[in-house]
């Protein structure tokens, strides 16, 4: 089954490019640590999922590139083509000239309706090119105007045009101390709207990835490219072919469906966080060894203590003792309660790994069986030169604090009415803001009372 990716805005296009690059370089590598046959099978599955072949033999990404200004798309297309290993379809992009001005209303209410037909035509073409369509992944930031506003509009259009398809929004949470002054407004409007149309939101936080670059990857002058490459690696660890059914030797034919099924049992809970370990500089890889028990222990504690990376984890945080009701106030603070978790293991000896610690009922809210709340995908084929890698996709309170913070800041600004005229100018009124605030306070409340 194939996935169509829609890259929206500068961030979406920059990250999208790194993702396809990472997928390609992974399948071209010979570090699969498995049989040739297995490797071939992995490559074929990845190719079918993300690429199609032109006569020249160069794989073409199943992607639609959208931006309201031309510079980023033109760069993205040319860098990909120059790589020689893959490229974008030169027809599969849509851009305009003037940008969205970081204005969500401009993206959603002006650009959206104006360009709906052109954009959806491109999406339709990509969808039709798939033998079997597995769903859509959109990549966007929440802070700006295009990825956020136009992205929210496009997501709604995808839902209308493909009511039975899975839609996953990959959303970039901006740095806390501003990239964009109105980023909190844009974020609130985006999240509220996406929540209504998408199946799930998979979030990466710039602050967290930045820390990973600084402390784990030892990068001195961190650029957006560095950040995007880490994000691409983490996404790759989730989206590359995996064995999702115990005992089934075939790679999953329905990756997005499998993801949604395991992680989104209830439509009120759609916020997914991602942790991937180990994460180290590529040139350190050959000199590092990891043990599964060590990795699993760290990953579990990262889940419980809501740590962003494998260093600086608070080992004091423990799950609530058995016997305490899940709604009791005796639940330790800072403990991250989960709705559902998915652990994706890749590499050497995956079938020997004991994941019992993730099935501990005290990790989860009470209204799901732990057997249903936890799933594991084990794939022997190693990913991106990491002999062992473990990723955790978690529907839990991971994003509760960031969400609360963004809503709080946006509300504070809204109370003073600052910048509101910039939105009403393009048709987003105060009531629209209030609706979005209400939706998100509901989400916050739901996750808080887990």
């Amino acid at each position: 089954m194939s996935i169509v990716t829609v890259q929206l805005g500068q961030c979406g296009n920059q990250i999208g490019h790194e993702v396809f690059h990472s997928l390609c370089s992974d399948i071209r590598g010979t570090h699969g640590l498995c049989s040739r046959k297995e490797n071939q099978s992995y490559q074929d599955a990845c190719k079918e999922r993300f690429f199609w072949e032109q006569e020249s033999g160069v794989p073409v990404a199943r992607a639609v590139l959208v931006d309201m200004e031309p510079k980023v798309i033109s760069q993205t297309l040319s860098i990909a083509a120059r790589s020689g290993c893959w490229k974008y379809n030169s027809q599969s992009h849509f851009c305009q000239k003037q940008g969205s001005g970081n204005n969500w209303a401009n993206g959603y209410s002006v650009h959206g309706p104006r360009h709906k037909e052109s954009i959806m035509n491109l999406v339709q073409k990509e969808a039709e090119r798939c033998d079997r369509l597995g769903g859509f992944v959109t990549i966007m930031s929440m802070a700006g105007g295009t990825g956020s506003g136009l992205g929210a509009f496009v997501t709604r259009c995808l839902r209308d045009a493909f009511p039975a398809s899975f839609i996953l929004n990959h959303v970039i949470w901006p740095y806390g101390t501003g990239e964009v002054i109105v980023q909190n407004y844009n974020s609130v409007l985006t999240l509220a709207h996406l929540y209504r149309s998408a199946d799930a939101l998979l979030v990466h936080e710039n602050d967290a990835i930045h820390k990973i670059c600084a402390q784990l990857m030892n990068i001195k002058h961190i650029s957006f490219r560095d950040v995007n490459q880490v994000i691409a690696h983490q996404l790759g660890s989730v989206f590359q072919p995996a064995h999702t059914t115990e005992g089934d030797p075939n790679y999953s034919r329905n990756p997005l469906g499998d993801l949604m099924e395991t992680l989104v049992p209830h439509p009120e809970f759609k916020m997914l966080g991602l942790r991937s370990i180990p994460q180290i500089a590529e040139n350190s890889l050959p000199y590092s060894t990891f043990s599964w028990p060590g990795l699993i222990k760290h990953l579990r504690q990262m889940l419980i203590a809501n740590a962003q990376m494998e260093e600086g984890i608070d080992w004091q945080v423990r799950p609530p003792p058995p016997g305490s009701s899940s709604h009791s106030t005796k639940k330790p603070l800072h403990f991250n309660t989960s709705v559902a978790n998915l652990v994706i293991l890749r590499g050497k000896d995956v079938h020997t790994v004991d994941l019992g610690s993730f099935q501990d009922p005290s990790l989860y809210t009470s209204w799901l069986n732990p057997q249903d709340a936890f799933n594991a995908w084990r794939t022997p084929r190693a990913f991106n030169k990491y002999e062992k890698s473990a990723s955790l996709v978690s529907n839990s309170q991971f994003l509760l604090k960031p969400l609360d913070s963004v809503v709080g800041k946006a509300w504070n600004m809204f109370a003073s009415k600052a910048y509101i005229h910039q939105y009403t100018k393009f048709g987003i009124e105060e009531e629209d803001f209030l609706d979005s605030f209400t939706t998100l306070e509901q989400v916050i409340s739901s996750y808080t009372t887990l």
Binding site: Q98, S100, G145, T177, H210, F224, V227, A418, E441
Partner: protein, 474 residues
């Protein structure tokens, strides 16, 4: 996206001339292959010299002949004529000029009411013609001074006109404000009358004060003449220098100061023209820096003012650039943003600077700056890969800060000094369409603006009570 600058009046045209000259220099440094590209197209058209019409479009071909997208307006011919006789003559054609002979006599009413009325149709026609050649017109720039008659009066007339004819296109105004010792006696009248127009019709105003430009020029001259660092400074890196541009041979007294303003405009538009990892377009500047419609006055600062020939740039020097951007010496108006209240701040970095450098410096400088309670993280940032000529990196800071207030208060005081005595009023009132109410409305508009800044200042340092959040029924 394309910008269309209007240079109005003597000051406006002198600054404009420096601007196009330095723009050509900047693009020549980057565009080695001579292809007419997206970056060039934001300020220049590519003319096919044989047919006279537009030549090869973007990326499609070599540069034939570049014509600036511009309108040069002056009610007195000498400045514009000089431009047309000088090395930049090929960059403009007659369809872009509107001139007259007698000037506006330093009288806003003559510029706005008399010439405005007289030249309205002509201006609209030329505006439309020039706009037709723009693939996607995003922004108008008006470059003018506030203290005279043409730039001030006719310049603000044009501003009104642009809002009527092209309401969706952003209007950025670079205004040179007169100093206290300005030799034009009526400059306070002209400035206050113009301010009302700026309050009501501009999207963003970048005020510039001659005193500040003068101090920067002096600072640089001292530095060069002191002999200490002088010999190692890269000539073309000086923010005041015309080195390497077309007009080098004929430097005039105001050129150094005007180059600073020209550099301001180049840096402002750099991210819209050149690529970078975090683009910052002009409409984003307006969106992020203007929280309330009338509070659209942005204090700008440029760093570095020069670069030493030794290109090795340790982090410390980079951090110094950020610190300098907030120092009094680098502001283009007589103001001290550090001790007043920020509503919003934008940092546009050019050159080899990464997001981590940006973040490190924001974290470092934040504690010493006062931001309004509802915008504690009010930073807008941009990273453009292409540095200005002669530099490896540079920074333009734009602050929406209450430190503009003293400038406006002083202006009002100078105005009242004249107005109380009704000095020179008859020169204005004798112009058709001018009445006493124009004056009283103008000063009232200025007073209201000052009051808005006062109200914000009153919140500074006060107790912070966040509004209570929406309660959801569980």
């Amino acid at each position: 996206a394309v910008s269309l600058p209007f240079a109005v009046g003597q000051c406006g045209n002198q600054v404009g001339c420096r601007f196009w000259d330095l723009a050509l220099r900047e693009h020549a440094a980057v565009n080695k292959k001579g292809i007419y590209d997206e970056a060039l197209s934001s300020f220049f058209r590519n003319i096919d010299t044989r047919s006279g019409g537009d030549g090869p479009g973007i990326y499609k071909g070599k540069i034939c002949s570049l014509k600036a997208r511009a309108l040069l307006i002056d009610m007195e011919e000498s400045v514009v004529n000089e431009i047309l006789q000088g090395p930049l003559r090929d960059v403009f054609d007659s369809k872009q000029l509107i001139t007259d002979v007698s000037g506006s006599g330093n009288n806003w009413a003559v510029g706005h009411k008399l010439y405005g009325y007289q030249y309205r149709e002509n201006i609209v026609e030329k505006l439309r013609k020039n706009a037709e050649h723009c693939d996607c017109l995003q922004c108008f720039f008006i470059i003018h001074s506030m203290g005279g008659g043409t730039g001030s009066g006719l310049g603000t007339f044009v501003l009104n006109l642009l809002e009527d004819e092209f309401p969706e296109v952003y209007r950025f105004v670079t205004s040179v404000y007169p100093s206290g010792e300005d030799d034009v006696i009526t400059s306070p009248y002209n400035s206050v009358l113009a301010m009302k127009e700026l309050n009501e019709h501009a999207d963003c105003v970048l005020p510039v004060e001659n005193e500040s430009l003068f101090e920067i020029v002096n600072k640089i001259n001292q530095m060069i003449n002191s002999g200490k660092l002088g010999s190692t400074v890269k000539q073309n890196s000086l923010v005041t220098s015309s080195a390497g541009s077309v007009k080098t041979l004929q430097e005039k007294p105001f050129d150094a100061m005007n180059n600073i303003v020209a550099n301001l405009l180049l840096n402002l538009t750099s991210s819209a023209r050149f690529e970078g990892s975090l683009n910052m377009d002009l409409n984003e500047i307006s969106m992020n820096l203007v929280p309330f419609p009338r509070l659209h006055y942005l204090v700008s600062s440029l760093t570095p003012l020069y670069t030493l020939a030794d290109v090795n740039v340790p982090s410390r020097r980079l951090d110094q650039m950020f610190s300098d951007a907030f120092s009094r010496d680098h502001q283009l108006i007589q103001a001290d943003p550090k001790h007043s209240l920020y509503l919003a701040c934008a940092l546009l970095v050019r050159g080899n600077v990464q997001v981590s450098d940006l973040r490190r410096n924001i974290e470092r400088l934040k504690p010493s700056l006062h931001f309004v309670s509802w915008n504690q993280e009010g930073w807008k940032t941009g990273l453009c890969s292409v540095p200005p000529v002669g530099h490896s990196h540079s920074l333009l800071a734009l602050a929406n800060n209450t430190c503009v207030k003293p400038t406006f208060i002083e202006l009002k005081e100078r105005f009242m000094k004249l107005y109380k005595k009704k000095a020179h009023l008859h020169h204005y009132l004798q112009i058709d369409g001018m009445e006493q109410s124009c004056f009283s409305e103008a000063v009232s508009s200025l007073s209201d603006l000052i009051e808005e800044y006062n109200e914000l200042d009153a919140t500074k340092g006060g107790p912070r009570t966040d509004p209570s959040r929406l309660k959801i029924a569980v």
